[in-house]
């Protein structure tokens, strides 16, 4: 894509986003009104904001008794036109607030990043200075800065307001940085020798900066109020320059006579704060899809008769979509498969292929705003897409277990392993706490943990990655579920631990007769583990079949590509396959043809037009490729050359 194209597309995306987010649009409009009012105050004001008329003091607003259209908002105690003062006041108030936020925020941000990332004596010194600042009364600070010179300029006010807030920013940012720098990927980046500056910019900052607008917003409005407090304490701006704060402070004295006077600046602050809130909320959602992560309330599909099956799990035409502001993303597209008792289904695909969403669709724990819109998930005779929430909760953990890629973050960091195990066991097996404790110890022994008592007492962060994943497996398997979904359970682990863990998992599965869905991007892992292999691409199944057949005789060009890549080296820090050139399609704008066509060496005209259907290519073996229906030889030849 060329640069103008990219820009046009970004513009289109923004337009679509804004049109979908009415609140953000409203916020922008509101903010524009406030800013324009400030900018064009000289034109809009009916009067000079400084012009006094002692014969027209404290006039009520136009709509009140005794008010006149000449002074739409009435006049102040010196007979100055309030509407004009409000308009002119917007300039100074916005300037002071924004500049103060930038000063306090900027300073705090830098201090927070530096102290959080580098720590040491610098951290100690700056944080102590911050403590002193926090414990030092604001009024005294204001007097110290503002009281010493006869004239008080906006710059001095900005200094006081900014200085009082930097530490709040610094602390929040620092704690964020502290937690970010301990995250695996940051550790990994550092271990790989990335420079501090690079780690900060590339990994830490993007995850930290999002707190800034939230605090900034809060302080924007707050500063106007504080400015009025300063006026109230005789420390405000040198008169007669109008600001919302000084109008507020003036209004206070006359509350009994003119209760409306403080309301105008109050409303102005409210509108400004609201507009900034709305815009900032929208901004966060637009730029940082991670914020979209979170619990999506589950809405079961309308009930219908499920087709009976003797399999543990029968998935038919399962479709899962995410309704985003910018459009609808189909993450899982008409996926069907079956899983027999005690069988292992291996699902393989690149990241973004929809395999994890598929897993979460089955266990009905999709992130917001995802939802299953079509199909059936028949598990032990019940359609999981249609059972009640209560019933689903009863099945989760008890009949369907799940383990995740990152065991470290999948265990609650502030609860002990023992607590989480006992809680789970008591929930499902109705044990008393003593029995649950014993059972928990057994569960840990079952996954090959030698010193279960120590691990029970431990918090997750005190365990190694392998140990954490063993705990996860124990958590899932201790109640002997009928189905275990393992979503890349070993990706984060070293090869030795990976092998041990897989072996243990396989033994357990055999012992307990559990069916397993094993999700991986590494097709080699499935070679001696899975009974059935399912290959996914762009939310669709490209190929499914018995392990032997799929691995030895792959029929889909994508499967072939995956297998070819196995022996090659993967780029560190990514799980993208380097063997297949090109990128997966943009899920927001799917083509009507085969999603793999743009990357497929054998793509034909029809591939770009029509999405191929699954066709049988052997016993239990199906693939979705036009080549299979036109010239199968070519495909076979391509696969084996």
């Amino acid at each position: 894509m060329s640069a103008p194209d990219a820009r046009a597309s970004a513009g289109r995306r923004l337009t679509v986003f804004l049109l979908a987010r009415k609140s953000t649009l409203a916020g922008l409009a509101l903010f524009a009104v406030v800013t324009l009012a400030a900018a064009f105050a000289p034109v809009l004001s009916p009067y000079d904001p400084l012009e006094q008329d002692l014969n027209r003091v404290l006039l009520p607003p136009a709509w009140a008794d005794g008010g006149s259209a000449a002074h739409p908002l009435g006049t102040d105690p010196l007979g100055r036109d309030l509407a004009s003062r409000m308009l002119w006041g917007a300039r100074l108030s916005l300037l002071i607030s924004v500049a103060s936020v930038l000063l306090g925020g900027g300073l705090g941000f830098i201090v927070g990043i530096v102290t959080g990332y580098f720590g040491g004596w610098l951290d100690a010194v700056l944080m102590r200075i911050g403590d002193v600042q926090l414990a030092f009364p604001f009024v005294l600070l204001a007097i110290a800065v503002l009281g010493v010179s006869p004239e008080r300029t906006p710059a001095q006010l900005i200094g006081v307001l900014g200085l009082t807030t930097w530490i709040v920013y610094a602390r929040v940012v620092r704690s964020r940085v502290l937690s970010e720098r301990e995250k695996d990927y940051v550790r990994a980046a550092r271990a790989l020798g990335a420079s501090s500056a690079r780690v900060l910019l590339r990994y830490v900052l993007p995850n930290v900066w999002q707190v800034a607008p939230v605090i900034g917003m809060l302080y924007l409005g707050f500063f106007v109020i504080v400015e009025s407090l300063l006026s109230f304490l005789a420390l405000g701006l040198t008169p007669p320059t109008p600001s919302w704060g000084s109008i507020l402070a003036d209004g206070r004295q006359f509350m009994m006579v003119t209760p409306w006077m403080p309301i105008f600046p109050g409303l102005a602050i409210l509108l400004t704060v609201l507009s900034i809130n709305l815009v900032a909320d929208g901004m966060a959602d637009y730029f940082d899809p991670k914020l979209m992560k979170g619990y999506a309330p589950r809405h079961p599909l309308p009930p219908r008769m499920a087709i009976a099956s003797d399999k543990v799990l029968a998935v038919r035409d399962l479709t899962t979509v995410f309704r985003l502001g910018a459009g609808v993303l189909t993450a899982v597209n008409r996926v069907s498969f079956e899983l027999g008792s005690g069988q292992v289904l291996g699902i393989v695909g690149e990241s973004g292929s929809g395999k994890s969403v598929l897993a979460l669709s089955i266990i009905q724990l999709l992130d917001a705003p995802g939802a299953v819109t079509e199909g059936e998930i028949v598990f032990l005779g019940k359609d999981l897409a249609r059972v009640s929430n209560a019933e689903m909760t009863g099945l989760r953990g008890r009949r369907i277990g799940m383990i995740f890629q990152n065991a470290g973050s999948s265990l609650n960091p502030v609860l002990t392993v023992g607590y989480q195990l006992v809680e789970t066991l008591r929930q499902h097996l109705r044990l008393n706490s003593e029995a649950a404790r014993t059972k928990a110890r057994e569960a840990l022994e079952m996954v090959g943990i030698g010193d279960p008592d120590r691990v029970l007492r431990a918090y997750p962060f005190q365990l190694s990655g392998g140990m954490q994943q063993r705990v996860m497996i124990a958590l899932a398997m201790s109640v002997q579920p009928a189905l275990l979904i393992a979503d890349e359970p070993t990706t984060a682990l070293d090869v030795t631990t990976q092998a041990q863990l897989l072996e243990r998992l396989d033994e357990l599965r055999r012992e307990l007769g559990t069916s397993v869905i094993f999700i991986t991007h590494d097709i080699a892992l499935l070679a001696d583990f899975a009974d059935v292999v399912m290959v996914m691409y762009a939310g669709q199944v490209c190929e499914i079949g018995p392990r032997g057949r799929v691995i030895r005789e792959p029929r889909h060009p994508y499967t072939q590509g995956l297998l070819n890549s196995v022996s090659r080296v993967r780029a560190p820090g990514t799980n993208r396959l380097s063997a297949i050139p090109g990128d997966p399609p943009d899920p927001m704008h799917p083509s009507t043809g085969c999603p793999f066509a743009p990357r497929c060496a054998y793509a034909m005209a029809v591939c770009r037009e029509v999405n191929p259907a699954r066709t049988g290519v052997g016993p239990g073996h199906e693939a979705a490729c036009h080549l299979l229906t036109s010239t199968p030889e070519a495909v076979a030849g391509g696969g084996t050359s």
Binding site: V132, L248, L270, V273, G397, P413, Q420, F461
Partner: protein, 305 residues
Amino acid sequence: MTAHLARRTAQMLLVVYGVVTLTFITVRLVPGDPARLMEPPGTPETIIQLVRQQIGTDKPLHVQYGDFLAGLPRGDLGKSFRGGRPVGELIAAYLPNTLLLGIVAMAVATALASIIGIGAALRRNSVVDRAALFLVAVAQSTPNFWLGVMLVLVFAVQLRWLPAIDMSGPESFVLPVATLAVTLLPLLVRTVRQSFIDALGDDHVRAARARGIPEHRVLLIHVLKVASLPLVTLVGLQAGFVLGGSVVVESIFNWPGIGTLALKAIQDRDFPMIQGTVLVIAIVFTLVNFVVDLVYAALDPRIRY
């Protein structure tokens, strides 16, 4: 743990020392001679000089500073320039009232903020959420001196349900607490909401759900325990605001608190009184934050001393 306690105590002493020293310097830099304020305007310089000798402001700064520091270990904060009563005694009489008001207001605000914030986080982007954020914006835009007086005019003057001023029975807490709580709410609600949303998106919450932990336990134990961490920090920070910034509320409700004591002392340039109140505020503030750190450590096992 002992080593940590010792280090923390040293840190706190350092912070308090810093605040006290800064205060000492500040009050003497600001224009306004306490001696001149204690005598009628126009009093001849010779008499003013006598007053300076009497209250000790004629001494060189380092001597005054030394005297002040020397008194501290004995708990001697000096005598007020106005009325000559011991500063410590006055603070001891006023501080509990501020603390009581502050604690009640913080408790009410935190409880309210938790309910509103969690409700908004659970129904993110819904009407409930939007209403909550709107309320927060309104609270944020309402000056507490206006709100306080309006509450008094409605509930004390018009309806006569509650007292307008004074600290007396429990009913006298309602209006000042409401005024203070509204000021505290916005930051608390936003923090609760955001940290709840963050925690709800954590992997371990999904993992807990995947284990079949019922929703109420997920929210009340798994999410709350993680989400409360930033809240605890914030409460510590807001303690400073309540202590030092409740001047307006105390003045509107004639609350016999340390805020008005400090403000009056500043107006009078009553140096011992300013130093005393600031010192006590700083000590309380650092202690509160020390407790906050302990609570934080208790909540988050990753932090160990």
